[in-house]
Amino acid sequence: MYRYRFSEEAYDDLAAALEYYLEHAPRGSIEHFIEDVERVFSPVLRHPKLKQVVPIRPKFRRVTVWHFAFLYRIDEEHEYLVIDRIYHERSSES
């Protein structure tokens, strides 16, 4: 089964997202944050049409965890997803 990884820069996004989550999410704890991410990615990783989901642009796809957009690509060679960018969805509305 595929697994998922973070690019180094995306890890920094993740850390910033966690800080924001701890301050503003109703269940603000590290474990809840990780649970939220896992809950979103588990079905993505198991999806039978994993490689056929319509991408938002070539190579990249998006899922939402709490208010954060996670952009990821599929590394078919290594059989894992790589999350390359995380941003707050509300910031795209302003």
Binding site: R3, S7, E9, E23, I30, I34, H88, S91
Partner: protein
Amino acid sequence: MSSNIDSSFFDDADFGPGPVCARREDAKPKARRRKSALRIGLVSNSVTLTRSKLCGATSHIRETTSRILENMSIDLTADIQTLRAQLAQIVDRASERRLRSIAAAVADTPNPPIPERLLKPSDDELARQLDERSGNSKTISSEEAYARLRNR
């Protein structure tokens, strides 16, 4: 099972027996009446509902309801259709007021500032970042990322 019943609500001292609950001449002795009292078990305590307490509470509710209806200028002598229409208007007005106050509260709540790193960049900038990041082969497994977060 938990309950929200406040045992003090049934305290005789608060209400006392209402006018419709005057003790009957042939009332049984107190000790004997206690046996037939309804006992409700709660999680943290229990309360005994006696006839006089229930009547006191009922009387209190009746008086309060009358007072509220009076304040709302509801004509209790009107026919049922008129009463129903009056009540519907009151409920509509109350709901509207409530919705308006919720909307105002939401509008007054400023959105927390989003850290610069988490702001969505322009489409061009996002494309550039994605190209750059996907070109970098160094990645961190989710397990390692979470371990790092926990150790921060």
